[in-house]
């Protein structure tokens, strides 16, 4: 094999975690001056493979070559020194320090043992100018938006003069414009001869930016193809290992009477939602679309009462309800599935039983003493009716896959017998197969006459399961339309209405 054909070769990489074979002879070959998309369902091993490259994990077997030379990194430091940089999905930044401190962290330029602030500033500025990033390097990084922080992280990678740059889900929190900016930067780096490994779930983006696509499944390499030969369907087929003709279950629900009216709702603490009015019918699935920062989550949180409103009304069955906090909301028949499952959804160290019953304790308690039999019965109901795949009800929820965790939490809320379900990104971080099950669950709920609001960043998903879609733009409602009158372009246009 010629030495210069590939910038990076990872061959037969294996990595075993307790109980799981995370990587099973995985491989990746990256050419210089190309963008190489790395795809696969959650848990397919993409991030693990990249962490092996970056020295975060140590692979059990396999070989890594950079420009034909065998390498092995014990830690990220060594990877960085050898021209490999990675922008992680979760940004690891010291929010209370300024931008240049973050960029030079761990390798402060020094002058006779004293940190050289001027060099730091000048070098940072140089990289920022090169990448068209317009922020002051002396700003506290915590004051930047998530997208700006992402840019800073990329600039940091560039400042290491990295030849190989790994971007793990870089656009998950970016607006369309910001994505364009990011792509400009990526193109610049590609023209410089860098190799870029790009992990993303967004098919359209992948097909737009990448030269080659490698697909992984269950820790194994499935295939590498030029992006020009691929379509969204072909990629999904490779990822899932079967034809996924029906990404969405048939819509069987029939919307009925209006049960929930939201009138002129404005949140107390701005920036948040302003003057939002909408209606939700029994048996209806109402999608909420919008860009990051369009305050979709805030809309749900304000309805649920964990964010306060200064104006407006929430009317359930013609009667105004006052959701002062989550307890009142639950009593009034509302349920909220939060966006960040790990941070605000699951009790990771606790059992499935605990996670199932925790929002419904009042139903099991007499004078504060709980009835175990009732709780066990309801837990079993959650496991059965949500089709949770688990060895037992005592299993810690964190050992389940994301999809099964999500099913437990949906079950938790169903136990409270809500009339209105507010679902915030219900399929985030869930693999394609399990997504279908969640869609089916949502449609089943609507069939039972519940009103369901679904916030999602994946427009095909909203178009696939919703009866109507409300589009938020910069805290305001840009429009509510029947799904059949909408497509992605129209949604995007509405989403940009107030920006």
């Amino acid at each position: 094999m010629s030495d210069n054909k590939y910038l990076l070769e990872m061959i037969d990489i294996c990595k075993q975690f307790p109980g799981v074979k995370a990587l099973d002879n995985a491989q990746l070959k990256l050419r210089p001056g190309t963008v190489h998309a790395l795809m696969g369902e959650n848990g397919a091993g993409k991030s693990t493979l990249m962490k092996c490259l970056f020295g975060v994990y140590i692979e059990d077997g396999g070989e890594i070559f950079i420009e034909g030379k065998k390498v092995h990194f014990d830690n990220p430091r060594q990877a960085l020194d050898n021209g490999v940089a990675m922008v992680h999905q979760e940004l690891n930044q010291v929010l209370k320090r300024d931008i240049m401190d973050n960029i030079w962290l761990g390798r402060y330029p020094k002058n006779m043992g004293i940190v050289d602030q001027k060099t730091m500033f000048d070098e940072t500025k140089k990289v920022f100018d090169e990448l068209d990033i317009d922020v002051n390097p002396k700003m506290k990084i915590g004051r930047l938006s998530v997208s700006q922080r992402q840019m800073v992280e990329i600039a940091k990678a560039v400042s290491y003069n990295a030849k190989i740059l790994v971007l793990d889900e870089p656009t998950s929190s970016l607006t369309q414009e910001e994505v364009e900016h990011l792509f400009k930067i990526i193109n610049k780096l590609r023209d410089k001869g860098c190799g870029i490994i790009y992990i993303s779930h967004k098919m359209e983006e992948i097909l737009q930016i990448s030269d080659e696509v490698t697909v992984m499944r269950d820790g194994k390499w499935v295939g590498t193809k030029p992006a020009s030969e691929l379509t969204t369907d072909k990629i999904i087929q490779m990822m899932v290992g079967r034809d996924l003709t029906n990404r969405f279950p048939p819509k069987t629900n029939k919307p009925g009477e209006v049960i929930l009216e939201v009138k002129n709702l404005t949140a107390t603490y701005q920036p948040s939602i302003q003057d939002v009015s909408l209606e939700l019918k029994a048996g209806e699935i109402l999608g909420v679309a919008g860009l990051v920062g369009s305050r979709r989550t805030e809309l749900l949180e304000t309805i649920f009462g964990i964010a306060h409103h200064s104006q407006g009304e929430i009317i359930l069955h013609g009667k105004p309800v006052n959701n002062k906090d989550s307890r009142y909301a639950i009593k009034n028949g509302f349920a909220l599935l939060t966006e960040e499952r790990r941070a605000t959804g699951i009790f990771g160290g606790m059992s499935i039983k605990f996670n199932s019953i925790i929002a419904n304790l009042n139903h099991y308690a007499k004078a504060g003493v709980l009835n175990d039999k009732k709780m066990d019965g309801d837990t079993q109901w959650v496991i059965d009716s949500m089709n949770v795949k688990t060895p037992s009800a005592k299993t810690q929820i964190k050992s389940l896959s994301g999809g099964n965790q999500q099913k437990v939490i949906i079950g938790r809320w169903l136990l409270t017998d809500p009339e209105v379900l507010l679902l915030d990104e219900p399929t985030r971080g869930i693999d394609v197969g399990a997504k279908y099950e969640i869609y089916q669950l949502i449609i089943d709920l609507a069939n039972k006459g519940k009103g369901v609001m679904v916030v999602s960043s994946e427009m095909p998903e909203l178009l696939g399961i919703c009866d109507r879609i409300a589009v938020m733009s910069n805290g305001r409602l840009a429009g509510v339309e029947n799904t059949e009158n909408l497509d992605q372009e129209k949604i995007m246009k509405l989403a940009a209405k107030y920006i």
Partner: protein
């Protein structure tokens, strides 16, 4: 391949249980040095010493489950011990603190001690739940306040602070008495600890309050979304801890036979170590009542054992310190991501 995994697993197992191995070895060493250690009398001694500390630890444990801690436990025990003691001095003792006080029913000073403990618990709870102070800070404050209150209470100018002793016989009996089972004398104190432990086990495992406590300790954000009343539940857990400190204080004065402004000093550290040794995690949301009891008894065994074989008192501090560090290091290991 299999062999290496086996070796790894054994290593892992040894590490995870290293604390208990070390503690077990220490007890074995004590027994080897002086086989007389293993007498029934010593064991009942250890258990009755462990009782007040156990009650204290059961109070602190709930706060650690809530991701908090309590530095004031020992001093609150101290102030409640002093107050109970002052109300229960023998009526025939000339220099009583309250010379005109009639012989009170035992329940009165006990209730007073519990109320004082409860008030301190509520102050701590208010600080954590309402003022959003870290438990470390608010309990550091109440620790000093409780100490100050003790000193003022006990100070009798112009004589100055006097140890409060010479208790009413009923009190001494109630605390240090024992029941004879066959040839074995079982101190009442062990029963008191057992009763408190059963009640606490019930609260932790069978009540809404208990589930809510684990929810708040495990993931406060998720608990808030799930409709758990965070403020109320934190306040109640702190209130319960205060009640237990009061109870422990009432028993401790009787057990020791006197109370001074130094009663209870550093007890919170023993209680916290007992919790940590017993598997109550500082990262919150994890812990069991049997664990706390086992932690308390093990530490008391070592305490007593080291004294028994005459280990230098200063060296004992160093050993205790090392045990805490070891316990927490092992606990933390369970929660850091494996690479």
């Amino acid at each position: 391949m299999d062999k290496t995994i086996d070796k790894k697993n054994i290593g892992e197992w040894l590490l995870n249980y290293s604390l208990y191995i070390v503690l077990g070895l220490m007890i074995v060493v004590v027994i080897i040095v002086d086989p007389r250690f293993l007498t029934l009398k010593n064991i009942t001694n250890i258990l009755s010493q462990a009782s007040t500390r156990g009650i204290l630890a059961l109070g602190v444990a709930g706060l650690i489950v809530l991701q908090g801690t309590d530095l004031s436990a020992g001093r609150i025990l101290g102030v409640t011990a002093i107050v109970s003691a002052s109300l229960l001095q023998s009526t025939t003792y000339a220099s009583r603190m309250y010379p005109d006080l009639p012989a009170l029913p035992l329940i009165v000073p006990m209730v007073v001690a519990v109320i004082i403990g409860a008030v301190f618990g509520l102050i701590n709870g208010f600080g954590v739940a309402k003022l959003h102070l870290h438990a470390f800070i608010i309990t550091l404050g109440t620790q000093l306040i409780a100490y100050g209150v003790s000193c003022i209470y006990i100070d009798r100018p112009p004589l100055g602070a006097q140890p409060i002793a010479n208790f009413d016989e009923r009190y001494t009996k109630f605390v240090t008495g024992s029941i004879k089972f066959g040839s074995v004398q079982i101190p009442y104190l062990i029963f008191y600890l057992a009763i408190v432990a059963v009640v606490m086990w019930f609260i932790w495992n069978k009540t809404t309050l208990g589930k809510n406590m684990f929810a708040i300790g495990g993931n406060p954000e998720a608990a808030a979304v799930s409709g758990v009343n965070i403020v109320k539940n934190i306040m109640i857990i702190f209130l319960i801890s205060g009640i237990l400190y009061g109870l422990a204080g009432f028993l401790e004065a009787g057990r020791v036979g006197s109370a001074t402004s130094n009663t209870g000093i550093n007890y919170e550290l023993d209680a916290i170590s007992a919790c940590v040794v017993g598997g109550v995690s500082f990262s919150g949301g994890v812990g069991t009542i049997p664990g706390v009891l086992i932690g308390t008894v093990i530490l008391q065994f070592i305490n007593y054992g080291l004294n028994f074989i005459g280990v230098n008192a200063y060296l004992q501090y160093i050993i205790k310190g090392l045990i805490i560090i070891l316990a927490v290091s092992i606990d933390v290991r369970k929660y850091i991501a494996k690479k």
